[in-house]
Symmetry: C2
Subunit: 162 residues, 2 copies
DNA sequence: GCGACGTTTGCAACCTGTTTGCAAACGACT
DNA sequence: AGTCGTTTGCAAACAGGTTGCAAACGTCGC
């Protein structure tokens, strides 16, 4: 692969810091540490908000194929290094799972400009479990996202008061 | 259009019961009462659970084109006669909005067999509004769906105890 | 009833996000 | 260095959904 890391960056990247948890998890699944893999994680590390496959691919430059991005996000998701979000626009988005964190959280998304805010509020566990019990379900989880119009967008559309 | 209603069913369908609210709303939007339109609403009326475009089209037989189903579900959604749901599998599903009802509710979906249960629990309004205020958002809404394994599917996968 | 006019339909082509088959390239281990 | 399973790029395939267009239809005024 045409991995720019070995050309433009520290040549010993393979034995650098991210190795700690990454290699461990990769080994666990008999997966390999590859250029694209690291590059994708780097991109996610540098971004605050969930990113789409296309965005990650773009941020990577021509470093690897879009199909590779898709495939890697699947494997990283399976390994629990990355979390998938679905904002209902038909595009999956991914976030890095912070080390040793269950990291469960939700988002508030502006329906005008797509600004994304991370939210700590969550659906009450007791209610969720009662609900599961009542319907005989187990292994219960939920998806929860909030939508609205952010302050900026409200300002933009507010009529000028003379 | 090849509308089987006029062949196989009551020929006076156009002046039947659903007209009440339907015609009113359609007129409001200067929309017409067409065969496919009614047929789609009939199908939804007969089904308890949210249906995908494809399913509705299939239930309709060759009564109308799939593109027509898509277009009509959009218009019906715009008019508030139908509500769209997104269970994260990349397929939109639709439910009839009960007459004169805000009908806001959520679902519990079995991740094995896709069984769907309608749920009344909802995210606490006060918390939602506090959240909106804190982040300067207005017009706040949410999407919330629960996933789990239903009783039947648990039974199937449970090891037989001798 | 009948015609005019805007709406809706079927059809086929298209778009976008995502997946897949395959041969070549690569990473880890001996 | 050699081996073997994993990963990659590429191009083609999918799937859900959308769209342009001409023909068919529903509504409304006469």
């Amino acid at each position: 692969m045409n991995n720019p890391c070995s050309q433009h960056q520290h040549p010993h990247r393979l034995v650098q810091q991210p190795l700690t948890e990454l290699t461990a998890k990769l080994r666990q699944h008999s997966r390999k540490i590859t250029g694209p893999r690291q590059a994708i994680l780097d991109v996610l590390r540098r971004h605050q908000n969930p990113m789409a496959n296309r965005e990650i691919h773009a941020a990577l430059g021509q470093e690897c194929d879009l199909a590779t991005v898709y495939r890697n996000l699947h494997t990283l998701e399976d390994m629990g290094l990355v979390r998938r979000f679905d904002f209902g626009d038909g595009t999956a988005r991914f976030e890095l799972v912070p080390e040793g964190d269950d990291g469960h959280h939700h988002h508030l998304i502006c329906t005008r400009c797509s600004r994304i805010v991370e939210i700590d509020e969550c659906f009450p566990v007791e209610v969720e479990q009662a609900l599961a019990r009542r319907h005989g379900f187990t292994e219960i989880t939920h998806k929860l996202e909030f939508f609205g119009v952010c302050a900026q967008c409200q300002a933009k559309s507010a009529p000028a008061v003379p």
